[in-house]
Symmetry: C2
Subunit: 204 residues, 2 copies
């Protein structure tokens, strides 16, 4: 791979700044309420310039989702590299990271209903590839945790997987945070504990 020119590096930096803004605005307002004008103002460039980098609002959102999946995959790999840690603890570590990111206002949320956005994402190879990679690694850990007796064997692995994914858009942490009487760390501990106790093997 050739060394990128200075010009290309500047472009990359700018696009990173755009995606970072989109990521934050998406977390704050969601796709439908986020406007391209806001993104442009937040980045500090003209709206028309944004459209030179990304062909549509949907493409902007997709780029933010790809970014968050890349970050997720980094965390997943980091957990996979830890020696002497069982599968259930790896799952908890990844889920904890997602909850922390959500509380920090940096977890973009997508309306599951918007069909134009769904079409864009399904057609986005990078997004689908990353989603598959994350799902496969988490799926392996889920099966292992069931074999270990840490997670209920009677639950289909996909039910467990979706339950974990759902923590990334769980409204409970935000509501508790807005109440203002608990520390972020405390909130994460509660939500994580409730989640994994719920998935645990039934005591007999």
């Amino acid at each position: 791979m050739a060394k990128p020119s200075f010009r290309q590096q500047m472009l990359q930096v700018r696009e990173d700044a755009i995606v970072a803004s989109v990521n934050r605005l998406l977390a704050e307002k969601g796709f439908d309420l986020m406007t391209v004008d806001e993104v442009a103002a937040d980045v500090g460039i003209a709206k028309a310039s944004l459209y030179k980098h990304f062909v549509s609002k949907e493409a902007l959102a997709a780029a933010a989702m790809v970014r968050v999946l890349r970050d997720t995959l980094d965390v997943v790999r980091q957990q996979a590299a830890r020696p002497d840690v069982d599968a259930c603890e790896r799952l908890q570590a990844v889920t904890r990271w997602a909850l922390q990111r959500q509380l920090a206002g940096e977890m973009p949320t997508l309306p599951s209903q918007n069909s134009t956005l769904r079409a864009e994402l399904i057609g986005n190879k990078a997004y689908i590839d990353l989603l598959m990679q994350v799902s496969e690694q988490l799926g392996e850990w889920i099966v292992a945790a069931q074999a270990d007796g840490r997670i209920d064997r009677t639950l289909p692995p996909e039910v467990v997987l979706y339950t974990l994914f759902a923590r990334a858009c769980d409204p409970v942490p935000g509501v508790l945070k807005s109440g203002g009487q608990y520390r972020d760390e405390q909130i994460v501990d509660w939500v994580l504990a409730i989640c994994f106790r719920g998935l645990a093997t039934r005591p007999n």
Copy 2:
């Protein structure tokens, strides 16, 4: 209270039809993607006629939310009237009802971010009153279930309350249903079991 005239009864019936449509469309597409034109078409009247009944799109959504809270309060009272049922089982019954309604496509969801909608709801006395009544009864049951040892005593009751409320907009049931390989009843059982096992008293 005077007997309503025939004309008033017809009006009431029409408004009920409007609210029913809004309820369904809100569940299907959410507030931002639901258009007033769609509601009018679904009810079978002109858009301008809708605005004679409800002053804004936000008011339409608020009416649907009031309706679902009224239905919820009915279920809550029905549970309160059952003899020889402990608090935890009452909570489970109400939560089960909410999950069933969601799977039936009749649980309207509100974007927590839309500020115009939040303002409308906070200013809506009927909505706030109903929300308080439901919350208070559920709160009592939560405290009782903690005293019974059915729910973890170390969790603040409001954390438990929000966790239960969140089942009404949990994405997991919908995702599992869209997969098409499980019966609704099975899905509800899993989500309910995961939820309440998560809240249960820690085994020692």
